[in-house]
């Protein structure tokens, strides 16, 4: 057992650090640091920059254009990326549908979809949840019926993150109701959002922004060749995807960055007040999260080490999802606490580039803290609520 980076790993870290120092565009950094939401073009530009260096598809096998990195290299990369507050990579294409395609898809599907995901030419979104199917995902009703060389899809998907920006959607759909277990009649289907009959309606979330959508399918014709793997096996493929999603949601590197940011802010005198870190209660809350986060970082590393020896991420990844999101939300709440009264003004118009300083209410991102806090209550709900994660662990790890 040892925790030291090898010389090669240190060289790799320096290489990554240097890349971000040189290639991370100043205007994107400014937006990130000023709490301005990145638009579609910003995100694509950033992802293309990473791909130009060969560092976009971090988790993919090399044969499809992935990095082929070791788990420790991935860990270093995530840390360096978070440390400069780089934009997040939108996961739906590169981290979610792509592993399903290269694991279960046909040769033709791999050639058709993977290069465009790699190059961020096509924006993907996820069609899992439905208005009547949240935690009980297997109860989903969106139907795909065979009609010659097409499926005809009818139904509604919801909570579709950034669906209004997407070109394609991957969906779990019901292809058969005549099955012993509900899970068996579900298939994994790729749908072009420009197909007639697809419509996207916004859902405005708690903090007042459009992030998620409802996607309606009204007699949408989808070619049979857009089915991934076998008909009726979609649930199995979807579960693999969810386990990838859960390891990604630990978000340790981001939380480390945010914790450092919080500590720095708490150590400063803001609005002429005494530094908040002098408050014993606040200092203890920060310390508790820091300890939890250190533990999670090592739990994450232990999981990565297990994956490196050839194991797929298993049900333990649920632990990362639960703890990771709990820590994120604790941090959100502490940022609000630190902002005090300045967490109250609802001033979304401030979060634009070069908003005049003299017109700004609050210091820095103080007024943004509550919006983030409200928005991020989603973290313990999405990707299988934390209660569902506990059900999974109880069943598959504890054998209950």
């Amino acid at each position: 057992m040892n925790v030291n980076l090898t010389d090669d790993e240190i060289a790799f870290r320096d290489e990554v650090r240097e890349f971000f120092a040189e290639k991370y565009p100043a205007d994107l950094r400014q937006k990130q640091d000023e709490g301005v939401t990145l638009d579609r073009e910003d995100t694509i530009r950033w992802q293309k920059l990473l791909n130009d260096r060969g560092w976009f598809a971090v988790n993919w096998p090399e044969e499809y254009g992935g990095t082929g990195w070791s788990s420790i290299q991935k860990y270093i990369f995530a840390n360096e990326m978070a440390a400069v507050n780089a934009p997040i990579i939108v996961p739906f294409g590169v981290s979610m549908v792509a592993p399903v395609i290269y694991t279960f898809g046909s040769e033709e599907q791999k050639q058709r979809f993977l290069p465009d995901i790699l190059a961020s030419n096509v924006w993907w979104c996820q069609g899992y949840s439905e208005p009547g199917s949240g935690s009980d995902l297997a109860s989903l009703k969106t139907k795909a019926e065979r009609d010659g060389d097409h499926y005809i899809v009818n139904g509604t998907k919801t909570w579709t993150t950034l669906g209004h920006l997407a070109d394609w959607i991957f969906c779990l759909v019901r292809t058969s109701s005549d099955v012993a277990r509900r899970q068996e009649g579900i298939s994994f289907l790729l749908i072009d959002m420009t197909t007639p009959g697809v419509s996207v309606k916004p859902i405005i979330t708690i903090e007042g922004s459009r992030e998620v959508n409802e996607v309606h399918f009204d007699n949408v014709h989808v070619p049979l060749e857009n089915l991934v793997g076998e008909e009726g096996k979609g649930w199995t493929y979807g579960k693999v995807l969810l386990q990838h999603e859960r390891t990604n949601t630990a978000g340790v590197a981001r939380s480390k960055y945010r914790l450092d940011d919080l500590k720095q802010k708490a150590a400063q005198s803001i609005h002429d007040a005494a530094p908040l870190i002098n408050d014993r209660n606040f200092a203890r809350k920060i310390a508790v999260i820091e300890i939890e986060l250190k533990a999670l970082e090592y739990t994450d590393l232990r999981t990565l080490a297990a994956v490196a020896t050839g194991k797929a991420p298993g049900p333990e990844s649920s632990i990362l999802k639960i703890k990771g999101t709990e820590i994120q939300q604790s941090l959100d709440a502490l940022f609000v606490e630190a902002a005090g009264y300045y967490a109250l003004p609802f001033v979304p118009e401030q979060y634009v580039v070069d908003f005049p300083e003299e017109d700004r209410i609050g210091h820095g991102l103080e007024t943004r803290t509550s919006l983030r806090y409200f928005n991020n209550r989603k973290a313990t709900i999405y990707a299988g609520s934390n209660e569902i994660q506990k059900n999974i662990i109880a069943k598959h790890v504890l054998g209950l």
Binding site: M1, N2, V3, N4, L5, I72, I277, A283, R284, A287, V288, I291, E292, K294, A295, L296, E297, Y298, T299, L301, R302, A305, E316, I319, I322, K323, E387, K390, N391, I393, A394, V397, L398, G399, L400
Partner: protein, 377 residues
């Protein structure tokens, strides 16, 4: 970064684990704990024969050259077996002081026989008024010709009743809680002026309250440099803190496993109680507490901190974790076992008591959270 253990380390862990399985079942442990000494001298000699008492010492000192990882592996197994033999007191606490500051003569007089299983030693790390602050010492050592005279009181001296040699931190100068002015002395336990009141603790370990009245000692009893004993004292206590945390993880894992197993077999309302979601989620919480604690432990033992503050901070982080998440694992274990969980008959109750004692030993969760904060500023 590498989480795997070496072949030697794995063999060491296996040898302790085999001993627990074959020679230290709960029934035998209870018999040993109820005996006059409160531990088995015969088994202690076996520990020495197996080389366990030599693990953390350098080869030069007659040891096996192990470090925190070896100690962690052994202590985790001792936790699983609820071992009451005074490994912590002799090897980690007293041995930790001796290997750091004893001179060659002192080592051959005290450390060698301890490693051989022929000398029982205790470090008096606490005083009645000091709570968890080990620098808070009212015990004084005043110069008396070539030697010193000691006066004061010590409490909760682990292995204090059986010890033949006592290591006494005493104040040779400075204010009551100052880190400067502390000197470490090694004194025969039967010296004139020493009164010991031994007792069993709630977790079936053995300790003693000790008073020192005009205890006269010569210069040969001084360990290290006069007035500069605190750093050594603290390092030994920190090492012991890490060791009991590893022991706690063994206890937590055992309680968690036994509780899950029990919930699969205990039938109420016609079904195993483990089928109830209210209980399932709580057992998932205890699993997560075990994993998170293990992770912090690995961080703490792998951390080759050059900086004392960083090292202390890691120790305090894991001790805080054990005092909060760990205690919760123990309480849930008792709760889910229902009435059986609070009987003397069942091992669950005894695991719970040991974990409770570990929370208090060397500072509870609150104490260590505060120390953690001090270390970061």
């Amino acid at each position: 970064m590498d989480f795997s253990i070496s072949e030697e380390q794995s063999m060491l862990a296996d040898s302790v684990s085999r001993f627990i399985k074959n020679d230290y079942d709960f029934e035998r442990r209870q018999k040993i704990a109820a005996s006059a000494d409160g531990f088995s001298m015969e088994l202690w000699r076996t520990f020495a024969e197996l080389g366990w008492t030599a693990v953390p010492f350098s080869e030069e000192d007659g040891g096996l050259g192990g470090g925190p990882i070896e100690l962690m592996l052994m202590m985790e197994q001792f936790g699983r077996g609820l071992v009451v033999e005074p490994f912590l007191a002799n090897v980690v606490l007293a041995g930790g002081v001796l290997r750091r500051v004893a001179d060659a003569g002192q080592k051959s007089r005290w450390l060698t026989p301890m490693i051989e299983g022929n000398l029982q030693i205790a470090l008096a790390f606490a005083e009645p008024q000091g709570r968890f602050n080990i620098a808070d010492l009212k015990t004084t050592a005043t110069i008396n010709g070539e030697g010193f005279v000691l006066n004061g009181s010590k409490t909760c001296v682990l292995n204090g009743g059986s010890a033949e040699l006592l290591i006494i931190p005493a104040r040779t100068s400075g204010e009551q809680a100052a880190e400067e002015g502390i000197t470490l002395f090694a004194i025969a336990a039967d010296s004139s002026g020493i009164v010991r009141r031994p007792y069993a603790t709630v977790d079936a370990h053995q300790a003693a309250d000790i008073t020192l009245r005009d205890v006269k000692i010569d210069a040969g009893a001084i360990l290290g440099t006069v007035g500069e004993g605190f750093a050594t004292f603290q390092e030994a206590v920190d090492e012991a803190t890490l060791a009991v945390c590893a022991e706690a993880i063994g206890i937590m894992r055992t309680m968690h496993d036994k509780t899950v197993e029990y919930s699969k077999n205990r039938v109420q309302f016609g079904v195993p109680i483990g089928s109830f979601q209210a209980l399932q989620h709580r057992m998932v919480d205890t699993l997560m507490a075990c994993e998170q604690s293990q992770s912090l432990m690995m961080w703490a033992v792998m951390l080759n901190a050059a900086d004392d503050a960083d090292r202390q901070q890691a120790v305090s982080a894991i001790k805080y974790q054990i005092g909060t998440a760990g205690i919760n694992v123990a309480r849930e274990g008792v709760q889910i076992h229902g009435g059986m969980g609070v009987t003397w008959e069942l091992d669950i109750a005894h695991y719970f008591k040991r974990l409770t004692a570990i929370d208090l030993l060397f500072g509870n969760a609150d104490f260590h959270l505060d120390r953690y904060i001090r270390c970061s500023s």
